[in-house]
């Protein structure tokens, strides 16, 4: 196969240090060193995904920017992606460009959320993505570079740089990389993507405009209701301290607590329904945390964390020991909705003619 013709401008840098300075000085990085995006490396990504450089991945709706495979691949290489990682980055971006994700708002907002990327299906194992130890941290190469690629694409394709399009007041560390693989092998639950309607055999990406994880701990019970009450309490805390608006929350349930839930026969649906009932506050509670000015005459109104139980993304991940868990709050209620897409599926293809 002949090398594909790339259209991006090229620069000649005298050695690896000069490459780093070129990219840092132009504002093209996240502050960390990058892998030089050479034509060979970029072409390898495109060939792996069987995409021509000018393949249109989507149109960003606010500024009408055409996102092409070539530009995604350049940023993926910079992040450290190997060719096999690239289809995941493409799918994440296809998901982010869906209207319901509201990419511009979610990435520009003072709220400072990051794009949480959740991997499901066989591709996790092909890539060596690890959903066990340190699942929300630096767990493995695949999730590290995929999450970073999503951010570098935002920086370079949408100008989501601090002080430019990115107006975050604080941001959070997930803005470097925020990708987790679900631990499907060590769980009897449906995977997140199955729970959201995809086949088990499909590899999938879910994106969510997400705040930083808030860790909980409860090692002193095996009762599902008590374990989940701790998760719900942290969500109530978020409703009180951050935003009262309902939307997609995620919870991360590591093995130790997960096994108690599964031994008692609790499915993800049961978990979500229980939390939906428990994670809600009265508006008057805002007066207890210094927000009395906005309670007004609606103190008795009840505000659930989600509009419905299926807005909760229940994710099995984490190391084998420790009675920990995490909740991941939405950027801001329902302004952005989580999107799940199968990797390699043609979302714009016409349905088969009957």
């Amino acid at each position: 196969m002949a090398p594909v013709q790339l259209s991006s401008t090229t620069y000649d840098a005298d050695g690896i240090s000069a490459v780093q300075e070129l990219y840092h000085s132009n504002g093209w990085t996240d502050g960390l060193p990058i892998v030089p995006p050479t034509a060979d490396a970029v072409q390898a990504c495109l060939e792996w995904a069987m995409m021509p450089p000018d393949q249109l991945i989507g149109i960003e709706p606010v500024r009408g920017a055409a996102i092409t495979a070539e530009k995604l691949a350049i940023n993926a290489v910079m992040a450290g992606c190997l060719p096999m990682h690239f289809p995941v980055v493409v799918t994440a971006w296809m998901a982010m460009m869906r209207d319901e994700f509201l990419m511009h708002g979610a990435t520009a907002s003072t709220g400072g959320c990051a794009v949480l990327v959740v991997l499901n299906g066989p591709i996790r194992r092909e890539l060596g993505a690890n959903g066990t130890f340190n699942a929300l941290g630096n767990s493995d190469r695949a999730t590290a570079v995929i999450g970073r690629a999503v951010r570098l694409c935002l920086i370079n394709l949408m100008d989501v740089r601090p002080g430019e399009i990115d107006r975050s007041t604080l941001g959070h560390p997930g803005k470097y990389s925020y990708c987790v693989a679900e631990d499907e092998e060590d769980s009897s639950w449906l995977s997140l993507s199955e729970q959201r309607g995809l086949e088990k055999a499909a590899s999938a990406v879910t994106v969510m405009a997400a705040g930083a994880p808030r860790q909980i701990m409860n090692e002193w019970t095996t009762k599902p209701e008590e374990i989940l009450e701790t998760f719900a309490a942290e969500m109530r805390a978020n409703l009180r301290h951050y935003s009262i608006h309902p939307g997609n929350y995620a919870i991360i349930v590591p093995k130790q607590l997960r096994e108690h839930l599964q031994a008692a026969g609790w499915t993800k649906t049961m978990v979500a329904e229980f939390i939906h009932q428990r994670a809600r506050i009265h508006r008057r509670e805002w007066a207890e945390v210094g927000k009395g000015a906005v309670v007004r005459d609606r103190g008795d109104s009840v505000y659930p964390a989600m509009d419905s139980a299926d807005q909760l993304l229940v994710i099995a991940a984490g190391g084998p020991a420790g009675g920990f868990g995490a909740i991941i709050p939405p950027w801001l209620g329902n302004k952005s909705h989580a999107v799940t897409l199968a990797i390699g599926a043609c979302v714009d293809c016409e349905p088969p003619k009957t």
Binding site: T10, P61, G64, A65, A66, G105, T110
Partner: protein, 93 residues
Amino acid sequence: MIIRVLDPTMEKGAPIGQPAPRLDTLKGKRIGFISNGKEGTKGFFAHLDRMLREDYGVAEVINRTKSNYSAPADADIVAEIKGWDALVSGIGD
């Protein structure tokens, strides 16, 4: 050793969005405000409204607020813009 690397940015500007022609004067003009509805916009637009009318002779100020402060303006607001001489928007917090 020379390493030849690629530009990671869009390079070409987005296809939409050109600066509108500047007005010669504000006197007698209709000026629209599109607010995102955040708390900090209220005082800002109220002050600007008064200043435009009292100091610059603007004939009319039309105030509109988006239904979702993080999303593009609603279609019915966008449809009104062609009836205005100028527009103030993009004011966040």
